[in-house]
Symmetry: C2
Subunit: 346 residues, 2 copies
């Protein structure tokens, strides 16, 4: 299958998107891959597979690559005389954070009529914002950790009990996030979070809570990954983060009762269907008192959570062959024709 | 001011967007206008101002116009040899319904770094969906009419009392909307709504409720329109609808107490700021027992609700000069450089 991987973007997670894309090259061994890099100025470049090394981007060598633009139905390579279409069967949106997860890339691909694996526009806008994720969960009957929402100009009155965790509503990868143990630390943590976003979400920090990650998609049937109990550390340094986005070896399942496993899977399905059709996402759940609560949706998970699937490449192909179709709208100018006729009679 | 008006789109409201654009030509008399038509296949055409007549589109004559594409910072005209940038100071998104109101056009303009008047991506995704509009209102402390949400596969159990109004969550201009007087009519009305959308919202139908429309924007200060009490009719035929989207004469204010006027204005501001910065929207409110409830947000109102403003053209210019700036993200490859260094040392 010809898969075009779009990565980079004007995003705080630009660099880890590069790492994710390099991992895809290792993982999708039997596919014919093209790589499209969105640089920090949002120029599009076609990257030769043998140039898929992190230094190629950090050293700006990528700027010598061919530039691309978008036309109806295709990415096109700009040539001295005219253009040439890039042949692809499906585009994989691998931009973490802004541009990729907020819905911009999905909008572009939908507007230009390219088949793509990614959350669609609406799913992106909802899952990119941690406050809206709460609304979404509530609307499909999934429980969430209690929370309080504060806007930049709101009085800084917090009604939850300490310790707390403060998160900017729109960022991933722990950027701007603080754990606040007591009231004296609150102001500074809010200042930090408001540096990154106009809105923050405040939740109780539950030390030692059991966390489980479930990735999945829906092709002609459900494509659920194994469930992982991630290793937790309060702070990840850059090497650990790198490891996280370059993971390509399958992990083993968490030890779970049949009942809890089934509860996690059913909760994932409620979140996913139908809003996330066409995408591969990872949901991070908390289990408290036997109840499954949604902590976070990763609409474009690091390295596409490939390490959670038994045969990631085959799964990608099945998802690509079962993408949701855009609702067809017929435009026949009946309305304008009627007006014209009415005018003619007058 | 050089204003580029984008209209048409792959939308049920394609035709009324053409009517809105023609109205803009009448209203924006002192501006230098360019018109970009998005046809039903989403091809972009540059329309000469003297061709801005409805028949030019319904007869497909527009296909002889120059084709456009998007590059970083500009729309470009495709020429035999090379391309030419279209000069513009601000783009006005005038596509009603899909593409325009769902956030796709906003995404494109933001991705390609063009200044534009329109709700941004997140504001679009929330206001395009009537269910999410309820969430949004609740999150900023604005009351809404009570409602029930049904997905296509949910059991059709309705707990509200009749009469009801049934609406597909994602469409405007009354498409797929029914008033249901008694239980026997429910199934059919739901069938109709589910023809258009996977989700519907059900509300009590409040006959004779007082409705008020407030349009506005924020430039360096609030730009609030007069408040109109719209004429209501249960069904609008095509000529009435046409009138509605081609309105260009200022109307007179509704007779309101100072207190109610102020309540409506404050409610508008709560909805608008900061989510809708950069856009001109119209909110339709119900007043029940002295309370102001949000009925609907029109993120791209018909003919931009020009008829509600004292000096629409001057207001547009002030909004264009005070557009929100995208948050600047610095990408400096610190993270990749650190990995490279760590590897070097190993």
């Amino acid at each position: 299958m010809k898969i075009t991987i779009v990565f980079g973007g004007s995003s705080y997670e630009h660099e880890i998107s590069i790492v994710s894309a390099i991992t895809m090259k290792k993982v999708l061994k039997n596919s014919e891959l093209s790589f499209i890099f969105v640089d920090k100025e949002r120029m599009l470049y076609l990257i030769e597979p043998n140039n898929m090394k992190s230094k190629f981007f950090s050293s700006a060598s990528y700027k010598k690559s061919k530039k691309l633009s978008l036309k109806n139905g295709a990415f096109v390579v700009e040539k001295m005389f005219g253009t040439q279409e890039l042949s692809t069967e499906v585009v994989l949106n691998l931009i973490h954070g802004r541009d990729g997860e907020d819905g911009k890339i999905a909008s572009l691909l939908e507007f230009y009529n390219l088949p793509f694996i990614s959350p669609r526009l609406e799913a992106s806008a909802l899952s990119y914002n941690k406050l809206y994720t709460k609304f979404l969960a509530e609307s499909v009957g999934v429980k969430v950790v209690e929370y309080q929402h504060l806007s930049k100009n709101d009085p800084r009155e917090v009604t939850l009990s300490y310790p707390l965790i403060i998160k900017p509503v729109r960022l991933g990868s722990s950027i701007g996030v603080s754990v606040v143990k007591e009231k004296s630390e609150l102001e500074y943590a809010l200042d930090v979070a408001f540096e990154f976003d106009s809105d923050v979400i405040i939740e109780p920090f539950i030390d030692g809570v059991r966390e489980y990650n479930q990735a999945g998609a829906k092709s002609s049937e459900w494509e659920l990954s194994i469930i992982e109990e991630p290793q937790k550390e309060e702070f990840l340094d850059f090497e650990k983060k790198y490891m996280d986005f370059s993971r390509d070896e399958q992990v083993s399942s968490a030890q779970l009762s049949v009942e809890l496993k089934s509860k996690i899977q059913e909760t994932f399905k409620k979140i996913y269907d139908p809003l996330f059709l066409g995408s591969i996402i990872r949901c991070d759940f908390f289990v408290i008192g036997g109840e499954v609560l949604l902590n976070e949706i990763n609409p474009i998970p690091g390295s596409m959570a490939n390490y959670l699937f038994e045969d990631f490449e085959a799964m990608i192909q099945r998802v690509a062959s079962n993408l949701p179709k855009e609702h067809k709208i017929i435009i026949d100018y009946q309305y304008i024709d009627s007006i014209q006729q009415a005018k003619g009679k007058a």
